[in-house]
């Protein structure tokens, strides 16, 4: 009788450990997948850019500095690899693209062209997908980091080789502009 009780207790304990271990590993894999999704969407956006720049150039050839800014930002974004680098390059490219679309506003012929309209739709859906992929990644990092830091999962983080992950934070220069207060 005692043997059965002891064996039962051990079995329960093993099940508990397995459940915690699996939860951590699952969360970690979801974060990896979520990051891969961000990269897929960033790649899609990078692929759209040459076409977009060419289209705008056709109507606004002298806006060279805007084109250069987009091309440089795009080049940087394709070479980034860590979460921090990718996020920084992503933010820079988003701003450069905003500049390009602002330029386009001044050319009614360009805005009316079907090619530009379809590119604009593609670009805005991709921007949305990038930001939703970011949000999904950060939500999952939040759950993972919470599990790594709270009892009981925190006891098994070392065993599962899972640790807290970095949030995907886009630097937005516009948000950094704290108003200067002068007396």
């Amino acid at each position: 009788m005692e043997i059965i009780l002891i064996l039962g207790a051990i079995a329960l304990l093993v099940l508990f450990v397995v459940a915690q271990y699996n939860r951590l590993v699952r969360l970690n894999i979801t974060v990896d997948e979520a990051f891969a999704q961000i990269e897929v969407q960033l790649k899609r956006r990078a692929d759209l850019i040459p076409n977009l720049v060419e289209t705008v150039k056709g109507y606004a050839a002298h806006e060279q500095s805007t084109f250069d800014a987009v091309v440089t930002a795009r080049a940087k974004s394709t070479s980034a690899s860590t979460v921090g680098e990718v996020a920084a390059a992503d933010g820079a490219l988003t701003n450069a693209l905003r500049g390009l679309l602002a330029v386009a506003e001044a050319y009614p012929d360009l805005k009316a062209s079907t090619n530009f309209l379809s590119l604009q739709e593609e670009l805005s859906t991709t921007e949305n997908k990038v930001s939703f992929a970011r949000q999904f990644y950060n939500d999952n990092v939040r759950s993972l980091n919470q599990a790594v830091a709270t009892i009981p999962t925190s006891f098994f983080a070392g065993l599962a080789k899972v640790s807290a992950r970095a949030f995907y934070e886009v630097e937005n220069p516009a948000d950094r502009n704290v108003p200067n207060v002068k007396f």
Binding site: T30, A34, Q37, Q41, E121, E122, S124, T125, N128, K129, F132, A133, Q135, F136, N138, N140
Partner: protein, 306 residues
């Protein structure tokens, strides 16, 4: 409900209420079975209860398992591909990424009323459908809110929840129908081992008469909670309560209703196609649209969340 405006709190509150309502359904079934037992004695009822539950199970679970195909035939929806509506697919893909769910099948219903619904037994067999009118009248943000609401039904497994509710309500209806018939037709014979306390007999009779109504009320209450939950989950996907709020305002201002082929699928649309004024609030499958708009407005006032 009005004092918790955060979508995470709203989500857990609505989930909690659903569990409570489903438990009440179970309790009600048990109560009816007990009343039947008291009134007729153990002999007859011991096989009628499993039969009633069985009939309800077969009927509801068949339609649950094939829900995606069944609803297509009942609403006249046509499944479409990316080429038919690239912008709609772009929007759905956005919400798919935000929710982490698999891509659902997409269908269109030819109709002059703006409306949408989701169905399917699990996220892998999900189908979301839109009327042709809703695609014409809504802008990007509004449609995104509607898609997020439908994908929330998929994520929250609402086809399953309503199947469970429909099964118990169905079993209770069949059970009390059996009982009433037995009472009229085979009155005096089977009553040797029945309870002879007159108060218990009256109470059991009352339970059998009232239970089917109570079951329908509970079923509607569950449906309403799932709608509120889907609104809250939708906001957790888009983080943009204004989009869904504007979409609901568009739906509220539009007075045309979907020309349905069957009332049986009324509960699955985002806006109830039944005339709200003729039915009491207690029986309606959706919370009043003004209430849903107010809840979303309260979420907007919290400012951007992440």
């Amino acid at each position: 409900m009005a004092n918790s405006t955060n979508f995470r709190e709203l989500q857990s509150a609505n989930k909690g209420k659903t569990y409570f309502l489903l438990a009440s359904m179970g309790l009600l079934t048990w109560l009816v079975a007990y009343a039947a037992l008291t009134y007729f004695g153990a002999g007859t009822t011991s096989f009628i209860v499993p039969i009633a539950v069985g009939i309800a199970l077969v009927g509801v679970w068949g339609s649950y398992y094939g829900s995606d195909k069944l609803v297509i035939t009942m609403t006249g929806a046509k499944v479409i591909t990316r080429e038919d509506a690239p912008e709609l697919f772009n929007l759905i893909e956005e919400v798919v990424i935000a929710s982490g769910l698999p891509m659902p099948k997409v269908a269109i219903v030819e109709d002059t009323a703006p409306n949408a619904f989701a169905t399917g037994r699990d996220p892998e067999h999900a189908l979301i459908a839109f009327t042709t009118r809703i695609l014409e009248v809504m802008d990007r943000d509004e449609l995104q809110g509607v898609i997020a609401h439908e994908m929330s039904h998929v994520a929250n497994r609402d086809t399953l929840v309503s199947a469970v509710a429909a099964t118990t309500a169905g079993a209770i209806a069949i059970l009390s129908d059996f009982m009433m018939r037995m009472m009229w037709f085979s009155g005096g014979r089977d009553r040797r081992d029945r309870n002879s306390n007159p108060i218990m007999l009256v109470v059991s009779l009352a339970v059998m008469i009232l239970a089917p109504i109570a079951a329908v009320l509970l079923k509607s209450a569950i449906s309403r909670k799932r709608e509120s939950l889907a609104d809250a989950t939708a906001v957790s996907y888009t983080r943009n309560p204004a989009g869904l709020r504007k979409a609901l305002e568009v739906l509220a201002s539009d007075t045309t209703v979907v020309r349905q082929k069957s009332n049986a699928v009324a509960h699955i649309w985002i806006e109830s196609p039944l005339d709200g004024k003729s039915v009491s609030k207690l029986f309606s499958t959706h919370p009043p649209i003004e209430e849903r708009i107010a809840t979303l407005k309260a979420m907007e006032s919290l400012g951007p969340t992440n």
